[in-house]
Amino acid sequence: MTFYSPVITNAKEAVDNEKLHLFKYVEDPDQPKVETYETHGGYRAWKKVLSTMSPTEVIEEVKKSGIRGRGGAGFPTGVKWGFVPKDSTKPRYLICNADESEPGTCKDRVLMERDPHGIIEGMAIGAYAIGCHLMFIYIRGEFGHCAEMMEKAKEEAYARGHLGKNIHDSGYDLDMIVHTGGGAYICGEETSLLNSLEGERGMSRIRPPFPAIAGLYACPTIVNNVESLATVPHIINRGAEWYRSLGTEKSSGTKIFSLSGHVNRPGNYEVELGFSLKKLIYDPAYGNGIRGDRKLKGVIPGGSSTPFLTPDMIDVKLDYESLVEAGSMLGSGAVIVFNEDTCIVWAIKKLIHFYRHESCGKCTPCREGTAWLEQIISRIEAGLGRPGDIEKIEEICENILGRTVCPLGDAAVMPIQSAIKHWRDEWQYHIDQKKCLVKSEFAF
């Protein structure tokens, strides 16, 4: 019996489109093999870096490319690398964050399953840039199959001399550890990830010090998302100028968008930043419209932690600046589509249940606030809402936002606030009439 269903990608388009690079070979079943990866130009960037570039030159090139972190925060990758103190005598560590758990996001998984060497090559280049000799990939525990793919690829990379001692006669040593987590969303947050990797409960740390100064084992540490690192070899091979020419002026490059929910063709699509959200949802080559010919109710454009957009707002470009302007965020690039049959209170109940469950419990506003929010939202959904509940939700949200050590609290609040802003009447109806305005009964 086959377990995994291959997710739809636009790899065919990527084969013909010179601008797309992350997905070019993901439909080639041999791509995970090191020989095939090398035939497709793999590890060329790594060799180039080792033989012709200084760490500073690598950092400068990645800075110039303008690539920003693809995990959600959008911080410039090269700038982050530059934060590692040059004069530190401590070991430095690079960690690839593969704890993909933001609801709606399923893109890093495709890269691990189908192009694992691309990730290793990007990690190696990042490691070299910051002077690291031991790098980690932290994979969420449920992705056992991804960990197996990465382990296998790692062994192959060692066997071909891409990792290990005196790599390609450069004098540079680099080792790699594949680490798996235990099913905690919070460990995608970098300081919680560090605690988890140290064998502790995955609870966030107060910054400063930032991980680049004192991270894993109190040593300088850089944590980068899978997609960000997988992009790095392409930047080195084709140059920062080429990468800058993709996307928009301020949001350069391509991005993988995970499209899920009520669309006809859910899948992972690599497109240039600045791509139309409307096109992603409706174009037959991508989402191919709303399932069952229903009307659109709303879209979450960047993973469950980002504010909703309403149908009149979807004529927006998918890049960092345009989505902020539209009142939302690019986040992890997980586009979740809701049709008109979705009760907004029901949808938010699902989300707040998640954040309450995943709150690590360190900060009172998040720990207590998400639990109160779940209680109130659940009672509204069950037809037991009380007058003043909406205002109470708003007040609790205000008291969580910006008052926690890590962004989980903000992430819990932002979709709720936007759902009340856009559909306040529906919330009021639910309280007054003690039932849904539209019933979310979805068959599978």
Binding site: F3, G104, G182
Partner: protein, 158 residues
């Protein structure tokens, strides 16, 4: 001893990779979970002896991570994703369907000890929804027919 010689060796091999011994806690828990099916104080005690980390610290970490069951579960642990993308494509009705087919409620184990049914948070399978994880494998793009076939297959293998 609960952990087999093979599991003990795997834990030791994993620990040898890390600069600090405590980093082996999660890898050790993972190896133990894969062998035993759940974790408890006896398992923590053995891990503690293998990796040289106090049992309290093992338990402290283990109880944070929800992926590891802390009570015995059925031979097949069915974990249905109930998060938003799966819910939009029928996770609630998938859970109801499984409850009906297995004759149990969510959270329970069948009398023959074969199946435990629970629902879990997002498993990163959003574009292949709805889905469930059974033990360590993903089953995606589920339909009633697929679910029937999967259950039948597992029953015949049991």
């Amino acid at each position: 001893m609960i952990l087999t010689q093979e599991s003990v060796q795997r834990i030791k091999d994993k620990q040898a990779q890390y600069p600090q011994r405590k980093s082996a806690v999660l890898p050790a828990l993972t190896v133990a979970y894969r062998q035993v099916g759940h974790l408890n104080d006896d398992v923590y005690r053995e891990i503690s002896q293998i990796i040289g980390v106090p049992i309290l610290e093992i338990a402290e970490a283990a109880t944070f991570y929800t992926m590891f069951p802390k009570q015995p579960v059925g031979k097949y642990l069915i974990q249905v994703c109930h998060n938003i993308s799966c819910s939009l494509l029928g996770a609630d009705s998938l859970i109801a369907y499984l409850e009906d087919k297995l004759g149990i409620k969510k959270g329970d184990t069948t009398q023959d000890g074969l199946f435990t049914l629970i629902s879990v948070e997002c498993l990163g399978s959003c574009a292949t929804a709805p889905m469930m994880q059974i033990n360590h494998d993903y089953y995606e793009n589920l339909t009633p027919e697929k679910v029937d076939a999967i259950l039948q297959q597992l029953r015949s293998e049991a």
